[in-house]
């Protein structure tokens, strides 16, 4: 029924709307543009005559919903909106004054039109302060420059994708043992489960593992290694080979530990026991040891580095800060290896109003991953104590900050912040609350393009150059869970290989049910873009012949 564009569909107009458009050829819409104002709630409204309160021409009422005819500007309330179109033939389309939404009087329903939405957005944007280049921050039109930059990022990624697909299909045929290749336990070297858990996840991340499988880092030619220094890439390569060797006795990643400690001598606390911090530290180290990382000019923009760590994990986070005084929005993009999410406070989970319906069977107080992501991307008011200085009006009042994802990585790592500081007991406590997370994740709603669109009430408008090549659909492949208290406990990784879940508990590898993973208290979630993920059509739960079904 609807023509589908990448993010939303353009609904088919009703007959009356089509007729109106044919007749008036959008003159009616264009005339409205100058009357579009921002209401007190930040939404667009139509303000034709700001000296008088609009009243229904039939009953003189001013309460409830008021509609203004697009042809003759006559105002009717919701009870009498049908009367107007009866008395005046062809006056079928009106606009809700309070909300700048089109209404078809004959259909009796709200209708949508991309041209009208475009007018409304332009009407809103005209009142926003402009930046130096004459553009509007936060609302980017299609920019050729930007498109070129995006395509520059892709060559390495597309290569990886092709290789990954080839490798995945060929690997299936070669497999002889009944257990997947690459599954092997890791010995705990003395409280090193934080390292083991991350390694298991990394070595099963498709583009990352394939890099080493393809022997892209050659020990013999590694200049760092020949210089006698520790090379983290060499060490990961060694471990990768060991995991794929077919030997099932647990492997001791001692050299990696040694190299990592040597590498991070300047760390404030090298004896870091947190899996997430090890993950970030390792990726940074890999970047530095990589050919691409070493060749980089320090002053150049980060984020488009082609080293394997960046190619696999790097995304771009956008931060919009809007000055409340003047409305100017300044935007900064920062590359990231992962996203750290706060859990919603235990009283209730945050669901963006009108963007997610509340299901009747949803428990009050259930924390979900989407709740965390919504919390992450919701506008946050920064008080005047935040030392913000607007570059447009130089005001230092309060501002509104909003995060969004400008570019999604191939492998998405979501870190759940489970540590809270208790001001009363002055201790750090672990939030052990359960967090619901999906196996299939759609990140569309958290993209910058979606967030900007939400600011303009989801109008049909080309706000951002959305790169439709990169999809926002992800599949989970690894979960790192933490058991126990804040400062003592244990890490375990659950791996999903060909729709069978395995538990990697240091040297112990066991098969587990999907339910166990779903019910676990996750700490780090690893998702990979769906197109890189190879899953069978039927899930084992529905397939009576597959293992693990009940």
């Amino acid at each position: 029924m609807c023509a589908r564009s990448s993010l939303y569909s353009n609904p088919k107009p009703c007959k009356h709307l089509s007729d109106y458009k044919l007749r008036c050829v959008s003159n009616g819409f264009k005339d409205l543009q100058k009357f579009i104002k921002a209401g007190s709630n930040g939404r667009a409204r139509v303000d034709k005559d700001n000296t008088e309160v609009p009243r229904c021409s039939f009953c003189n009422g001013y309460r409830g919903r008021l509609f203004m005819c697009l042809i003759c500007s006559s105002v009717s309330c919701s009870s009498h909106v049908g009367l107007h179109t009866q008395s005046e033939n062809g006056h079928d389309i009106a606009v809700d004054i309070e909300r700048a939404e089109l209404y078809c009087c004959l259909c009796g329903d709200q209708v949508y039109d991309s041209e009208f939405d475009g007018i409304v957005v332009s009407g809103r944007v005209k009142d926003l302060p402009m930046d130096k280049n004459g553009g509007f921050e936060g609302v980017e039109g299609r920019s050729i420059k930007r498109r070129k930059l995006d395509s520059k990022l892709d060559p390495g990624i597309n290569d990886d994708l092709k290789k990954a697909r080839l490798l995945m299909s060929s690997r299936d045929q070669r497999q002889k043992s009944c257990y997947p290749l690459g599954l092997r336990g890791l010995n705990n070297l003395g409280s090193t489960c934080f390292m083991n858990s991350v390694l298991q996840a990394l070595l099963h991340a498709p583009p990352f593992s394939n890099y080493f499988l393809n022997d892209r880092h050659n020990h013999d030619q590694c200049p760092i290694k020949s210089g006698g220094k520790p090379c983290l890439l060499c060490e990961i390569d060694t471990i990768s080979s060991a995991m794929l060797s077919g030997d099932h006795t647990p492997y001791s990643p001692a050299r990696l530990l040694y190299s990592w400690w040597q590498h991070s001598t300047s760390l404030a606390s090298y004896e870091e026991k947190d899996a997430h911090e090890f993950f970030i530290s390792l990726l940074n180290g890999i970047h530095e040891n990589s050919e691409e990382g070493r060749a980089r000019d320090d002053s150049k923009d980060k984020g488009d580095c082609q080293c394997i760590a960046h190619r696999a994990f790097s995304g771009l986070l956008r931060s919009d800060v809007m000055c409340i005084t003047c409305g100017f929005t300044s935007t900064t993009d920062e590359p990231c290896f992962d996203i750290s999410l706060n859990m919603p406070t235990s009283s209730f989970s945050f669901k963006g109003i009108a963007n997610k319906a509340v299901k009747p069977n949803e428990q009050i107080g259930l924390s979900t991953l989407s709740g965390c992501l919504e919390l992450y991307t919701r506008p946050e008011r920064l008080g005047s104590d935040q030392k913000f200085c607007c570059q447009n009006c130089q005001g230092t009042g309060s501002s509104l900050k909003q995060m969004s994802i400008k570019r999604l990585p191939l492998v998405l790592c979501l870190h759940i912040k489970r540590v809270e500081h208790s001001p009363s007991s002055k201790r750090f406590l672990k939030n052990d609350q359960y967090l619901q997370f999906p196996f299939s994740l759609d990140m569309t709603a958290y993209l910058s393009s979606s967030i900007v669109r939400k600011r303009f009430e989801n109008r049909i408008f080309a706000f951002e150059c959305h790169n439709s090549d990169s999809s926002a659909a992800y599949e989970i492949f690894a979960v790192v869970s933490h058991f126990g208290k804040f400062d003592s406990g244990h890490y375990v990784t659950y791996l999903r290989i060909k729709n069978q879940w395995y538990k990697c508990d240091d040297p112990w590898i066991s098969e587990v049910d999907e339910e166990t993973v779903r019910a676990s208290k996750s700490y780090m979630l690893f998702y990979v873009q769906k197109r890189l993920f190879n899953i069978p059509r039927v899930s084992p739960r529905r397939d009576p012949l597959a293992s693990g079904s009940k």
């Binding site: 939404r43 309460r63 001791s252 404030a268 947190d274 997430h276 970047h287 299901k359 066991s510 779903r518």
Partner: protein
């Protein structure tokens, strides 16, 4: 259109409150209508399914008769192997050359590399929640070793007490 026909303050405030409430309700209805029509909620079914599966999983796992996961006592792994609580593989320390047992390697290496407890810099555990609130996403410090950690969200493993030798993180099943 008649307004309230007496000057009772309660009625007057109800009158205005109803207006406001109606307006807010229509706001939300209009938003939802737009989202539905534009297909922005096309994932609703999948999301509901995921929620349902998670709910079922939690219920099943909480059931005392559930034995999907080996409860703390591993006998053999999927390869049919058994493992001792402390890894017994012996190898050479790459720093000093001595033979070390795998399960004791990390504490050995710590002393061996001269990074004893005295040499350790103080942990900055005084970071407040407010500080961590603004450190969203882990920035990629691409040009220097990762050093700007706030310890506000670290989850450690192993024993925390200072001055004691490292012990294995014991697996505490929920």
């Amino acid at each position: 259109m008649s307004g309230p026909n007496d000057d009772n303050h309660t009625e007057l405030s109800s009158y205005f409150f109803e207006d406001l409430l109606d307006s807010v309700i229509v706001d939300i209805a209009s938003e939802c209508h737009r989202i539905a029509r534009l297909g922005l909620d096309h994932n609703l079914d999948e999301e509901e399914e995921e929620l349902r599966l998670s709910e079922e999983a939690c219920a099943r796992v909480a059931d005392p008769s559930y034995n999907g996961e080996m409860n703390s006592k591993y006998v053999v792994d999927i390869f049919g192997q058994a493992h001792p609580p402390v890894a017994t593989e012996i190898f050479e320390c790459m720093n000093c050359g001595r033979s070390v047992m795998a399960g004791k390697f990390a504490p050995h290496l710590e002393k061996c590399m001269g990074k004893g407890r005295k040499a350790r810099l103080k942990m900055t555990r005084s970071s407040t929640a407010a500080q961590s609130r603004h450190s969203r996403g882990s920035p990629v410090s691409a040009y220097s070793p990762y050093s700007n950690s706030t310890s506000a969200h670290r989850l450690a493993n192993g024993s925390p007490a200072a001055g004691e030798p490292y012990s294995n993180g014991t697996s505490e099943e929920p």
